[in-house]
């Protein structure tokens, strides 16, 4: 389709004063591109800074979006671009898909969307890397310098393992794949072996001539190995560890973008990738800390197999106290202070709207309601906050673990909705428990505890929870949504 490209060239020619010598014209365009990239980099940083306060966040992100627009516009005048057909098609298709997903996707699907967007980002970085390799070594027939090859190797390796790793995470979160960890004998050894093969390939690529046939073969083989590594490292990771994995993949996707910047000599790519990489890295540290585990521990699946023996003996012979929805409603209705502890169970039952309704009813009766958010409640960092915000719970009622933990002892009722391990006192006082040392919400210090629970199955980590057998704890069995609907009706009836 020459017409589209001719038209575009004609337009660009008009902008950049055609009669000038080619070199001067190129410099002129390059100047504009670099200014656009500089502006974009500053706007990205300002945009992220907006996220430090909820009331400035939207404006901040609008600045970042303007930065992106400027960077894309700047790139479009690059003198190397001679045909706009495929660019426009890709932009149109991507915009349509991206807009459709973000308009119609329910908020409960946020973890899945985040996982798959890491796959898209990594895919773009990997393909740009492959295209660059192919262009330099095959089309131009030139040698890649060691430095360029190292950057390219990083880009393609991080990129390819992030693509499949994120797709696996997506599959688990969307329940297309079994959410439980898949483990087999020799898993860690074979994973480490495969990773070592990838590293050896990387070294070969850097230190051998890029003009040989074997170099090309090894390059593409490394992509394949990277894809395989991505699948294998996420397979043994269970749903409860998803917040760490998603953060880690976020970081890798950023690093792949940054490596693309090194390959193409493009600073805005390096900066944006570094911001993304730093953010993912920091979040993975925070998530690991909130689970009292190291990165390696999460990645090498020590948690993967449920610890069957743990806690099982200590709860034998103990009985739980079921409670009717009438009694639970009365307790909540006459409480002065209620702290609600939401967990993944609330997200699964999509009960956030009923939770908000119940909280409003209690407040209308004169009680005070707060929400205690554990950092790893749910499937990704901040998951509970977004769901409750969607249900119109004001954000000043959503309190972090550190802010709220001292307040439990004053609370009349702690209402635990579909959370388990994050309120398990074994983390505090049972050194033999696999979750010993993990910071938890002090729900057990409240004057009474009501737990909404589907059944007596242990939580995701497969660990018994002594809280449920506590004399001041009662359990309301059933699906979180229908239990809450009943509670709302009962509290209303009391008025």
């Amino acid at each position: 389709m020459p017409s589209a490209s001719q038209l575009a060239l004609h337009l660009l020619g008009a902008v950049t004063a055609a009669p000038k010598p080619v070199k001067a014209q190129h410099e002129f365009r390059e100047f504009f591109i670099e200014v656009a990239y500089l502006a974009a980099s500053v706007l990205f940083i300002l945009g992220l800074r907006g996220l430090t306060a909820p009331d400035k966040a939207r404006r901040g992100m609008q600045l970042a979006a303007i930065g992106m627009f400027v960077a894309v516009l700047g790139t479009l005048i690059d003198f190397r671009i001679v045909d706009y057909t495929w660019i426009l098609l890709g932009l149109a298709l991507g915009s349509a898909i991206g807009a459709a997903i973000s308009i119609w996707m329910p908020m409960t699907a946020i973890p899945q969307r985040t996982a798959i967007s890491h796959a898209f980002g990594a895919l773009a970085a990997t393909l740009v890397g492959i295209s660059h390799y192919d262009y330099v070594t095959r089309v131009l027939g030139e040698e890649l310098s060691r430095v360029d090859m190292a950057a390219l190797g990083f880009e393609v390796m991080f990129g390819s393992l992030t693509i499949t790793g994120s797709l696996m995470a997506f599959g688990k979160l969307q329940e297309l794949l079994p959410g439980a960890p898949v483990t087999y004998a020799g898993q860690n050894e074979s994973n480490i072996g495969l990773f070592a093969v990838a590293v050896l390939m990387f070294l070969f690529l850097v230190f051998s001539s890029s003009l040989t046939g074997s170099h090309t073969v090894i390059f593409y083989l490394m992509v394949v190995v990277g894809l395989a590594v991505g699948v294998l490292i996420v397979i043994p990771i269970g749903g409860a560890d998803m917040p760490v994995v998603i953060s880690l993949l976020n970081s890798y996707a950023g690093l792949a973008s940054s490596a693309t910047g090194f390959v193409l000599g493009n600073n805005v790519l390096i900066i944006a990738g570094a911001l993304d990489g730093a953010s993912g890295f920091l979040l993975s540290i925070l998530m690991s800390k909130a689970m009292n585990r190291s990165f390696t521990n999460v990645l090498f699946g020590a948690f993967g197999t449920p610890a069957e023996s743990a806690g099982a003996a200590s709860t034998a012979g103990l009985v739980v106290r079921p409670i009717s929805s009438e009694d639970a409603a009365a307790q909540l209705a006459y409480a002065r202070e209620v702290i609600i502890v939401p967990g993944y169970g609330m997200a699964v039952a999509q009960a956030q709207h009923q939770v908000r309704e119940l909280a409003e009813l209690i407040e209308r009766r004169g009680g005070e309601v707060k929400f205690a958010i554990h950092p790893v409640a749910g499937r990704m960092p901040g998951h509970m906050n977004v769901l409750l915000a969607e249900a119109n719970v004001p954000y000043d009622k959503l309190l972090d673990m550190d802010e709220i933990n001292d307040q439990f002892s004053r609370a009349d009722v702690a209402l635990v909705i579909g959370a388990n391990d994050v309120v398990n006192p074994a983390a505090r006082n049972d050194p033999s428990s696999p979750i010993y040392g993990m910071p938890i919400l002090n729900a057990d210090q409240a004057k009474s505890v009501i737990v909404l629970k589907r059944s007596m199955n242990p939580g995701f980590a497969g660990i018994e929870n002594a809280l449920f057998y506590d004399h001041k704890c009662s359990l309301l069995f059933g699906d979180a949504k229908s239990s809450l609907t009943k509670l709302v009706a009962e509290v209303k009836a009391l008025q």
Partner: protein
């Protein structure tokens, strides 16, 4: 002294321009941007961690910039095809990422005091 500096300047530039100058300059940019990112992001409250992740994801969709050149430079048919797929994937992240971040941030509101 002014003249010596002026005379020495082109030499200094020449001497410092080895094949490693540029990669190291990029490394500086990477490390410093990483530090700035880390400093800012430690101040983002846990409340906004989900929007933060979708925001950084949208921003790293900047690899779109690299994809555009690959898709439009006619290096080869292979490159154009890869570039086209990359442009599509990156645009999904950019457009979807910014839109969904905004949708999320819109939901966060303070309690109305009456």
């Amino acid at each position: 002294m002014g003249t010596t500096l002026l005379n020495a300047w082109p030499l200094a530039v020449e001497a410092s321009q080895t094949s490693l100058t540029l990669p190291f300059l990029r490394l500086y940019v990477f490390v410093l941007a990483g530090f700035v990112g880390y400093q800012i992001i430690t101040r983002v409250p846990a409340l906004l961690h989900t929007p933060l992740m979708s925001a950084t994801n949208a921003i790293s969709g900047i690899s779109l910039v690299g994809s555009l050149v690959a898709a439009g430079a006619q290096f080869s048919k292979f490159s154009t095809f890869l570039g086209f797929v990359a442009v599509t994937a990156a645009t999904i992240n950019v457009v979807g990422g910014f839109m969904i971040t905004d949708r999320m941030l819109k939901m966060f509101r303070r309690q109305e005091r009456s």
